[in-house]
Point group: C2
Amino acid sequence: MDVQSIKVACSSCNLRELCLPVGLNEHELDRLDRVISTRKRVKRGTALFSAGDKFTSLYAVRSGFFKTCVTTADGRDQVTGFQMMGEILGLDGIVQDHHACDAIALEDAEVCVMPFDQVEQLSREFTTLQHHVHKIMSREIVRDHSVMLLLGSMRAEERLAAFLLNLVQRLHARGFSQSELILRMTREEIGSYLGMKLETVSRTFSKFVEEGIIEVKQRYVLIKNTDALRHIVSTPQCR
Amino acid sequence: MDVQSIKVACSSCNLRELCLPVGLNEHELDRLDRVISTRKRVKRGTALFSAGDKFTSLYAVRSGFFKTCVTTADGRDQVTGFQMMGEILGLDGIVQDHHACDAIALEDAEVCVMPFDQVEQLSREFTTLQHHVHKIMSREIVRDHSVMLLLGSMRAEERLAAFLLNLVQRLHARGFSQSELILRMTREEIGSYLGMKLETVSRTFSKFVEEGIIEVKQRYVLIKNTDALRHIVSTPQCR
DNA sequence: CGTAGTTTTGAGAGGCGTCAAGGAGCGTGG
DNA sequence: CCACGCTCCTTGACGCCTCTCAAAACTACG
């Protein structure tokens, strides 16, 4: 794997309000620092881990952008999520001791490596951390359920609107604009995530542009009318 | 809530190989017994918990059958899962301290109540239990991802075939037939779970019957050709 | 035995997939 | 610096799968 290790400290990380250290006190943070002692760089287009790999660690995205995707024997595949800084990767590996999906960097990225046995050990000592780990997993479950809602009951326009709103909302929580964003993924990857073909994604973008809701220039998207997007999401279009 | 409490012991439960106690030794099992001291009965059609309810406990299904579903403000709703005996309900509540979905009994049911703070406390003492809790949550995440694959990239026939295979497989693991089953849910609920309309569910059942793959009499289903179902699932029909 | 809920089946419509062609952006090499 | 090729994106035309609307049959239950 084309990755390299470097020293790092959670206590001085500007993502500590978003990442694993949420709510830990100084002593706990200090102990966590010793567990999360390495980072890995992942080059654009390469895998942090792949389905079938032995599970050893969780990873916190420090910079860059990832997609996770599951693949079936017959070559079908589905993007199950996009992860940005402060978000956790690898939870899928716990149950089988092997990863169940691929995690691929969509741009050069850096992750903090958190050996899972050490996370578990520390969780036994610190209630705060234990509960936080549980929350992270629960959050992923709730998120997945909302994606199931999207895939199961929304039409193309609603899906794309919901997708854009979710992306800017997460970016905004990280200090970025709430109306501008750069898509790190292709139309095809968006389509896979949203259960539609890339042509439909493209057409739907065009439709939003025609209606004056957004501006699009390749990967750059400007949201001109957030309320219109919200309205599209929250108004079942007959179906 | 029309439920009542009764005494119970994991150590004598015939689901202990499927449920939370998996892998615990005698001493640990004994301690767990004291935590899981009550059961609740849930009548058909009523909710074990609803979205917004305060989260206090996880629930292990002891008998009966549940569905979980998320509902949006605009009245859309999506069945996110069906739970049978030995399976755990309530993981969605951890992250917000309130439940994010409804859990509704599809037939008269009985669940074991596991106060979550006590589960966490015991997890800090017993590595085995801690790891098992993590596995349960990870399994749910992996399951959700496979549902996303289903919703995002399969057509009606593939979805229904995958659904039937999954159901009998789980029933078989619980000692039931691997070729016969009684559906506990309506066509509409199946449709909601699979992202299709009830009419399409019904038509797809009829198609399978015509092809001699299954027999259907209302809620009763006999699988006459498991391989044919597997073939349908694993063969992308162009899309 | 009537009524409500569930399921089946048909006919028609439309949203999205499929196939195809062309254009735009970007890195590479001459 | 420009040509070239590659990948990604856009747009059009057409067809099909699934939704929608509707009606009837069946089951369950009071």
